[in-house]
Every structure is written in C-alpha cells, then in structure tokens.
C-alpha cells in the first residue's frame, strides 16, 4: 500500500492501527502527522484507536525490556581478548597454502617437520611390531602342539636331548 502523505482515509488509518498499534510513535514517520491530525478530527478514528488499545496495553506492561546483568556484559566485553575469537579471525584469513608454508617457515630442517616425521616413523614401527607379535606366538604354539601330538618326533627329540 502506497501511503498518501497528504490525505488520510479511515481505511488507511485502520490499516496503520492494525499494523503498528495505537502509539503514534510507532506509526510510519511519513504518515504520522497526517494520521494524528485525522485522529483529532475523526470520531470513527478515535473509536478505532480505543478498540485497539487493549493489546498494546498488555504488550507494553508484560514485556518491559530488562537490562542485561553485569556478568553477561563483562563476558561479551572480553570477546576481543579471547583467544578463540582471535584465532578464528586468523583462520578466516589463512589460505591452505599459507597453512602449509606455516609448517615449514624456514629452509632445511625445522622442529615441526622433524617431530611430524618422527611421529610417523614411530607409528609405522609400532604398527608393524604389534602386528607381527601375535603371529610369532601362534607359530610357536603350533610347533609345540605338533611335537606333542607326534610320538616319532617325541622320540627323536629325546634322542637329540
């Protein structure tokens, strides 16, 4: 609806009340003066305003904004000093290439690279030894069982001893 700034009609006044309520401070600024003038002159407009005032009264009294407490204010005030906010800002501006380069800031060996390589080698070594050990035990157990079950071999074994 395009408001007519010069002439207020009852239809438009009703629409304003329905949308913005009865307080002229909330009415569209472009139409406020005209609507107020219209209200002063029109008994129908005054009747409309009176009928609509109930909801505004309930909303105004029930939902008065409460001020935030000091603890919360302090928490928000520390945002610029918090590491996560600073690091998030940093991460946002870091490209993948910059991240990779940051791991190798100088030519030659660097502590980060050496630590990474050592961790990798240690992981592979642990993985391989953990994998071989059960197999070795199985082989030893199988050999013992075979010797125990075979009388000829037991005899040879005694002679050997």
């Amino acid at each position: 609806m395009t408001p007519n700034k010069e002439n207020m009609t009852l239809k438009r006044f009703r629409a304003i009340i329905a949308a913005y309520g009865v307080n002229p401070e909330r009415w569209p600024s472009a139409e406020r003066t005209t609507a107020k003038t219209f209200l002063n002159k029109s008994p129908e407009a005054q009747k409309l305003l009176g009928a609509a005032s109930g909801l505004d009264t309930i909303l105004d009294t029930a939902l008065k904004p409460a001020a935030v407490d000091a603890g919360f204010l302090k928490r928000v005030a520390t945002i610029p000093y918090q590491e996560y906010a600073l690091s998030a800002a940093g991460q946002k501006q870091t490209t993948f290439g910059e991240f990779i380069r940051s791991l190798f800031p100088a030519k030659g060996f660097v502590p980060q690279g050496m630590a990474l390589a050592f961790a990798g080698i240690l992981g592979v070594w642990l993985g391989v030894s953990a994998d071989l050990q059960p197999d070795a035990q199985v082989i030893q157990l199988d050999a013992g069982q075979y010797l125990f079950d075979n009388p000829d071999l037991q005899k040879d074994f005694k002679e050997f001893q």
Binding site: A19, L63, F72, I79, A85, S87, Q93
Partner: protein, 196 residues
Amino acid sequence: MRRVATTSAESGGDVSGLEQESDETLALLIGKGDKAAFQTLMERHINMHVSFAERMMGNREEAEDIVQDAFTKLWIHAEKFDPKRAKFSTWFYRIVINRCLDKKRKKKPVSLPENFEVADDRENPAESLTTRQRKMQVVKALSEIPERQRTAINMCYFEGISNREAAGILNMNIKALESLLSRGRKNLKSLLEGSD
C-alpha cells in the same frame, strides 16, 4: 594473517571520543581491530538485542548466548561490513535474526506447557503475580505465532525500528511488512483473549 587487536588509546585515538561516533564508524574501527570501538558499540546495542532475542526465543539464557555469538561474529567479521550497503543496525539485526532462526531450527519443536514459568532469576521480587502471569501469557502467545510475524512485531513494535528499515532487514516491501504485522497482531490478540 592474524588481525592485531588494538584500542583507540593504543593507536593514539581518544577512547572517550568514541561515544560521539556513529555505529557505522565504530563498526569500521572494529574491522581494524579496535577494542575500544567494540566496547562502545556493544554497550550501545546489547540491551536491545538481548530483549529482541529473548522475545524471539522466549528464553533469556538462549537470548544471551545468541547475542554473545553475534558480537563474536561482529568482532571476527567486522571488516566485511560495508556502510554503503546497509546501516550497521540493519546488518547486525540480520546476524541476530539468522542466529535465532538457526537455533530454532536445531531445537526440537516443543510447545510450551500450560503452567510453564518464565526463567528469569533477575525478576523483580515486587512484581505482582498478575503481571508475572500476564508476562507468561504474552511470551507463550508470541512463541505460538509464525516466525516471520513474531520477527516483524518484535522489530516494529518492541524495538521501534522504522517500517522501511524493518522491511529491508526482512527483505520485503512495506506492504508485505504491514500485512505480516496486522496478521501477527490479530493472532496475538486472539491467543491472549483465549488465555484469559
């Protein structure tokens, strides 16, 4: 590159002078890492945004979380703010509204029970039982109207944002905004009459 946080005082500026600066100037200073500008802008806006988020969520704790997140976003992304494209208040309201909608989407939709209490340990002890009951009814009614109607009423009625700015924030024309407001108020009225 990590943004280096500074204050106006550290950079030779006058902290007290920031009070006179517009929201847009402060936001641009925050984009350069100015902590004092952040403090000034935060103190200027925090009350209304917490009230706004509380009416959107029906819960003070969630409202505070949302506003804290929004201010964290402001600190991190302030350099993206372009005063030629939008007023600071429009830009920041969008952040808060989007955060409210995200949180609502993640939340399991649960309608408020008949006898629910508004959680607020800062409540005035002198507040009468009738006022408290009325407050509960209004919070409940607000939570039951459609999201867009609630957002429009929250901005135009409670926050006093102009219809033009509210329409801009909601990305709609003024006629559509007025239609949302009218339907929202009508729904609220019938819900509140039903709860009497």
